[in-house]
């Protein structure tokens, strides 16, 4: 499709540590079309952030290595680019907003300078002030001359967004952009990202564990579990009828729905250790509907409905035949 901006195919990012190989991202496929907002959801430690870092080729290496896959940005496979060519993509074609605004700004450098250094245009000073204005920072002249520690968390996140949007990149990756912020500030930052997206037509890959944010911001969503995509589809379809037991669990445990219930539902257990992931379907130890086949074989991603894919034995023909154990 011509409309596709980012197409990740079979991405595998492994970390080689002394205890063995951590398969942080294990065969992820995802794509983002022009002007589309795509959510990537999952629990902490499921490989969302590493997927994003892999797209930017920012995986700390060693110990991390992108082992396999293709990352097509328009007509270029980013994984085939050398470091020098990749630099031209970062900040210009693909930008990233990070999770913790407190630690992502250089503490000993003035804010204005940190924005200016990413700009390609020659009229630097004017653009820095304009950028600060465009992300809703009051008194941009003053803020440009301040150090990060003099700003609040929300302001810093605005500065990080200004840095990411400095060169109007076609794709913005936002990695849990509001997790570290107060609830009221969260809404403001999400509004800002939304405004930028509609005004500039930027495509968005939004990484989050908050389904509420996905519902509000995204057109399509990928559900990730233990390094793999387990379900994908448009937001309505997934929220209305989640197919994978993990996605169902996530929705049930989401706070906005649970408010109306007496108890907050949880998914039992924790994300598996990616050094030694469970056999078969990686969710089977926590799955309320696990069957014997789930332990033995890995389900493939099948299209259950148009545009709605799931990787679960419940929906595979021969899987259902084998029945519950």
């Amino acid at each position: 499709m011509e409309n596709i901006l980012l197409d990740v195919r079979g991405l595998k990012t492994y970390f080689h540590i002394s205890l063995g190989v951590v398969r942080a991202v294990d065969g992820v496929n995802l794509c983002v079309s022009k002007g589309e907002a795509v959510g990537l959801v999952g629990e902490s430690g499921c490989g969302k952030t590493m997927t994003a870092h892999s797209i930017m080729k920012l995986v700390p290496s060693p110990p991390g290595f992108i082992e396999e896959g293709e990352i097509w940005f328009r007509n270029t496979d980013l994984l085939r680019l050398g470091e020098q060519e990749m630099r031209k993509f970062r900040g210009r074609e693909v930008s990233m907003v990070f999770q913790d605004p407190m630690t992502y700004l250089n503490p000993v450098m003035k804010v204005g300078k940190q924005i200016a250094e990413v700009l390609v245009s020659p009229t630097r000073d004017r653009t820095v002030i304009k950028l600060l204005e465009s992300v809703g920072i009051p008194d941009p002249l003053k803020v440009a001359d301040q150090y990060p520690h003099e700003l609040s968390g929300g302001m810093r996140q605005r500065v990080l967004i200004a840095i990411a949007m400095a060169n109007d990149p076609p794709l913005l990756i936002a990695d849990e952009p509001t997790t570290a912020l107060d609830v009221t500030i969260q809404a403001q930052i999400l509004d800002l990202i939304k405004t930028i997206k509609t005004e500039k037509g930027t495509s968005l890959l939004l990484i989050t564990h908050d389904l509420g944010i996905v519902a509000e911001m995204c057109d399509r969503v990928y559900v990730m579990y233990a390094g793999k995509i387990v379900e994908s589809g448009d937001v309505f379809s997934i929220f209305e009828e989640p197919l994978h037991p993990y996605a169902q669990g996530l929705l049930r445990s989401s706070l906005s729905i649970a408010e109306f219930r007496e108890n907050l539902e949880t998914i039992e257990g924790t994300v598996p250790n990616l050094l030694d992931p469970p056999s078969g379907c990686r969710f089977h130890p926590r799955c309320p509907m696990a069957m014997s086949v789930c332990k033995e074989k890995e389900p493939s991603l099948i299209q259950e409905k148009p545009g709605h894919e799931v990787s679960c034995w419940l929906y595979e023909k021969d899987g259902r035949d084998r029945n519950h154990s």
């Binding site: 930017m56 920012l58 700390p60 020098q84 630099r87 031209k88 993509f89 970062r90 900040g91 210009r92 930008s95 990233m96 990070f98 913790d100 630690t103 992502y104 700004l105 250089n106 503490p107 000993v108 450098m109 250094e117 990413v118 150090y147 520690h149 990080l160 840095i163």
Partner: protein, 329 residues
């Protein structure tokens, strides 16, 4: 900004805080030196059999017959008047004896500090660029060795190799005695004399700085703001120079400041080995001669210098790190 005003009051407060510290150092040194075995009068007279009356006269002339606490009191009050005492051996005011030696010590220490800082930082940065590579391992091994070698042994070895075997550099003193040199030749002569002692004095500190700088650079390289810098598409050189270095320098500056005190210790050995006419050798000679006033004077001066350098380091910190603010809130 009100920053300048608060810096001034900060300096003033720091200097005031230094006073009780200096008093403690004076009392401690005085007590320690006077409790040590040995008698200054005996060491002045030497083996020569002197009449008892003469010894007693000397003792009372220097005030050594008074009780210790009286001597201490007199010493402290004299210091407050700017009088560091009178040297038994040189027969001169202590201050004059020390002041005469200060230029030589500075001439040795300043190049040593600069060299150890510069070489340490550069090697540390280079080492951290490719951790555990051949060059990193080579530099780290050198640093370990440099840290372990005793200064007096290293000084003698350098002298043995470069002065005696190879004959490239002079082995003793601060300049060629008796030679009337001018202009560049005089400078070159001083430089050739400086080379070995400064090297012997700084190797250990180069080693320390390399290790600290390396680990500081590595630590900083994992910081989130370095990931941001990379995500901006900046090249490695810019990331190292603009983002890593200013942050990695902070702990190193502290260490370099602390090191200055240890450099004084080192200079006692180096100046003794290389016959360098500075405070270090004066200290060593005064111990041998039991020249208490001079010894206490050198201790006091070095303490003052260490306190001052630490203050300077803290002020450099203020300039390097915008998060640091001194002064009352």
């Amino acid at each position: 900004m009100a920053k300048d005003g608060s810096v001034k009051s900060y300096i003033l407060r720091r200097l005031l805080h230094a006073l009780p510290l200096l008093l403690c150092v004076v009392v401690f040194n005085f007590t320690l030196i006077h409790m040590a075995p040995g008698d200054p009068i005996q060491s002045l007279i030497g083996e020569f059999p002197a009449p008892e009356a003469y010894v007693e006269a000397m003792r009372s002339a220097f005030g050594l017959d008074k009780p210790l606490y009286v001597q201490l009191w007199l010493y402290i009050t004299n210091i407050l008047k700017g009088d560091l005492g009178f040297s038994f051996y040189y027969r001169q005011p202590v201050l004059a004896v020390i002041v005469e030696r200060v230029p030589a010590t500075l001439q040795l220490m300043i190049p040593a500090v600069l060299f150890s800082a510069l070489a340490g930082l550069l090697l540390g940065i280079f080492s951290a660029r490719k951790p555990y590579s051949l060059s990193d391992n080579a530099i780290s091994s050198f640093a370990l060795l440099g840290y372990c070698l005793p200064i007096f042994w290293l000084g003698q070895m350098l002298m043995l190799i470069f002065s005696i075997k190879l004959g490239w550099l002079p082995s003793q003193g601060i300049k060629t005695l008796g030679a009337e040199l001018e202009g560049f030749k005089a400078f070159a002569d001083r430089l050739s004399h400086l080379f070995l002692p400064a090297l012997a004095l700084s190797i250990r500190h180069v080693a320390i700085n390399v290790r600290i700088m390396r680990s500081s650079m590595l630590e900083v390289s994992y910081e989130d703001y370095i990931t941001l810098a990379r995500s901006k598409g900046l090249d490695e050189k810019t990331i190292v120079a603009r983002h890593m270095l200013p942050n990695a320098l902070l702990p190193v500056v502290t260490i370099i400041g602390l090191d200055i005190g240890f450099l004084f210790t080192g200079s006692v050995l180096v100046e003794t080995v290389f016959g360098w006419p500075g405070i270090g050798r004066l200290m060593y000679e005064s111990i041998l001669k039991r020249d208490y006033p001079v010894l206490m004077g050198t201790f006091l001066i070095t303490t003052v210098l260490v306190v001052l350098t630490n203050l300077i380091v803290d002020l450099i910190y203020l300039w390097l790190d915008p998060r640091v603010k001194y002064g009352r809130k």
